[in-house]
């Protein structure tokens, strides 16, 4: 049954190579567009960059920044984005996406540091980042910034109603936060977990004024809820990192369908066990109703049907990192090897290596579909 459900489809030898060479023209001719891949990336000397590349490999910018970043938060209408510091970083960078110019270095408030994620409100006037209150290590905050005259100004804080928040996203209304509270306490300038045996991970829905709507948990306290993708119908998908024993099965992908509780996504043991207890990024493809997940420690990339839960792809991809949806499928970056495009339009999913620089991509990418 497992093998029947599992469909591993990849292109033959020749077309894999051809895909790489024809991709630029193919993307332009098929879509009339060539999305901009935004991500944090390092060079081999350990220097940190905020980068923007066209999918065909053209570099738009690579701006050196002082601290390693994680996710990228695009403004809803202006060509700017905030490259958010990875925990426990204290500097995020507001970048002009046309030329990579650094517009502003946003420093975290005293006794606060960034957790790597944030969101812009659809009005373009407000930005929220997940932050750590290091006076009560792990106490989760959404730090509020007002965007005015091309600059971000600190404006206040909201509680995430949980510990160690990681990714924050919007529900489709653009007014309700979805927050992955990882449940782990860490101190300033540290990535060391302080409470592995008293973790409190949760998925929180919050109104924009800070009113708590719901707070839900999975069955395992040591399963840190970290990454999110929200479908246009309001389905929430969450990727976990399990901190318990290496041989214990964990609910590494979870789902909250509209009107239903937050619960484990029905993974087959074969896929679950291949994740090495660590997921990096999740993405949803709204038109194709697919969910994609990167597992860099398991060196595997997965795609499932969002509605039936059927496995569509279970493929090796060393140190796979960020994933994002494009018109025909998913783009995936890697910390080690080349980036790939997975064309998901037909029953058999085909992979094409991209002409983007190989390796050193951080765990998230953001696609600007210009």
């Amino acid at each position: 049954m497992v093998t029947n459900m599992l469909r591993r489809h990849v292109l033959g030898l020749g077309s894999l190579l051809l895909g790489a060479l024809t991709l630029g023209g193919w993307t332009v001719s098929r879509n009339g567009k060539n999305p901009l891949v935004l991500s944090a990336r390092d060079d081999s000397n350990g220097k940190h960059y905020a980068v923007g590349y066209r999918l065909d490999g053209t570099q738009v910018f690579a701006t050196e920044v002082g601290q390693r970043c994680h996710d990228v938060v695009e403004h809803p209408s202006e060509p700017i984005a905030l490259f958010v510091a990875r925990r426990p970083g204290t500097e995020s960078y507001l970048i002009d996406l046309r030329d990579g110019r650094l517009l502003q270095t946003v420093k975290s408030q005293p006794n606060r540091h960034f957790y790597g994620h944030g969101v812009f409100h659809k009005s373009g006037e407000w930005l929220y980042t997940t932050d750590n209150d290091t006076t009560d290590p792990g106490r989760g905050l959404l730090t509020v910034y007002r965007y005015e005259n091309g600059q971000l100004h600190h404006s206040g804080e909201l509680s995430t109603h949980g510990l160690g928040p990681h990714q924050v996203s919007w529900m489709p209304d653009g007014e309700t936060f979805v927050i992955a509270n990882g449940g782990i306490r860490t101190e300033a300038e540290s990535r060391k977990e302080m409470n592995l045996h008293a973790m409190e991970p949760s998925l929180v829905l919050l109104k924009r004024d800070g009113t708590l709507i719901s707070k839900e948990t999975l069955s395992q306290p040591m399963n840190s809820v970290r990454h999110l993708a929200i479908a246009s119908d309001g389905t929430i998908v969450a990727g976990q990192q399990f901190m318990g024993d290496a041989h214990e099965p964990a609910e590494l992908l979870a789902i909250k369908r509209p009107g239903q509780p937050f619960q484990a996504f029905p993974l087959e043991a074969e896929q679950r066990d291949a994740m090495a207890h660590y997921t990096a990024s999740v993405a949803v493809h709204n038109d194709l109703r697919l969910v994609a997940l990167t597992a860099p420690r398991g060196n595997r990339f997965f795609i499932w049907d969002l509605d039936t839960g059927a496995v569509r792809l279970d493929a090796p991809l060393p140190d796979c990192a960020g994933v994002g949806a494009v018109k025909d499928g998913f783009v995936v970056t890697s910390g080690q090897g080349r980036c790939r495009l997975y064309d998901c339009r037909s029953a058999s999913i085909s992979a094409q290596p991209l002409d983007l620089p190989a390796g050193l991509w951080d765990n998230h990418l953001h696609l600007k579909l210009a």
Binding site: L18, L21, S44, H166, P296, Q336, A358, D362, N363
Partner: protein
Amino acid sequence: MLGKKMFAKNKFRTKLLFTSIAALALGACSPADQQAEISTALAKQVILPTYSRWVEADRALAASALAFCSGKADLEKARADFLAAQKAWAELQPLMIGPLAEGNRAWQVQFWPDKKDLVGRQVEQLVKAQPNIDATTLAKSSVVVQGLSAYEYILYDSKLDLANAETKARYCPLLEAIGQRQQSLAEEILGRWNNKDGMVEQLSKFPNQRYADSHEAIAELLRVQVTSLDSLKKKLGAPLGRQTKNLPQPFQAEGWRSNTSLKAIGASLASAETLWQGVDNHGIRGLLPAEQKDLAAKIDAAYGESKRQLAALDRPLTELLADEAGRKALNDFYDSLNVVHRLHESELAKALNIQLGFNANDGD
């Protein structure tokens, strides 16, 4: 319909055009050729033979369990066959690329680290709950009891007296089941190497569904080697108590019941060196350009030093852990392993333009 057909035709033409360009581009690119050559050589001359030896050792193990349990072979013979399987497994450690590294399969062969003695406890639970267990049922049981660690417990744990017929009868169904389980697991993995589109092909012909180019294959070979060198340090560091305020923890050693910890580390280290050297210098070493010969010599010397340190450990691990001189010798060996590991992880990776586990080891 017509439009769709025409599109398909145009697409086909485009692909044909690019085929010739691709052929030209590849022809001009000799480093890629060299990487493909080395990757192919390592797959066929080093890795595949090691997997084949593992299958042979597990076939012998399965037969050995049957012979021991039916009284045709004695405990000494059963233990010798176990040690051979353990050694074959240790030699695979730096070569854990592809199917064996995926889907938790390695746990099914060996359960380590085992901080809470789950092996002992779960074997005891299992022989009570399922006295007539077979390989099929075992495959669905906890990974803790499926592999060599449980096998070792049965043959070596001091609480079990296999000379007692009743005791032997109680553990034999599990012993036989593990033997069969390991044999079929090893055969399945070897199949995944030899099949069409299997690992041997994927390490030889590029691009393929696993690797976009030969550089990705070389990068992954180095990555698994570095991971394994790091885990050798952990295997030695755990009993030395390097993570526990230098309080020795002899029961945290791999293979402490059979006293095979140091032998296993030695077998893995020797195997890592074959990946580095290759046959006729068709190993990772062969990829270093002439101007990097100092680095090559440094890595050669580091392996040599580490082997010398290991050879100098002339007492069992538990004895070495018990006195100052023994612990110093073990720590010196650890330091020599660390040199080998760091050289691969930093200088060698840099020289080969390989990025190792940027997110996997330090993600978020």
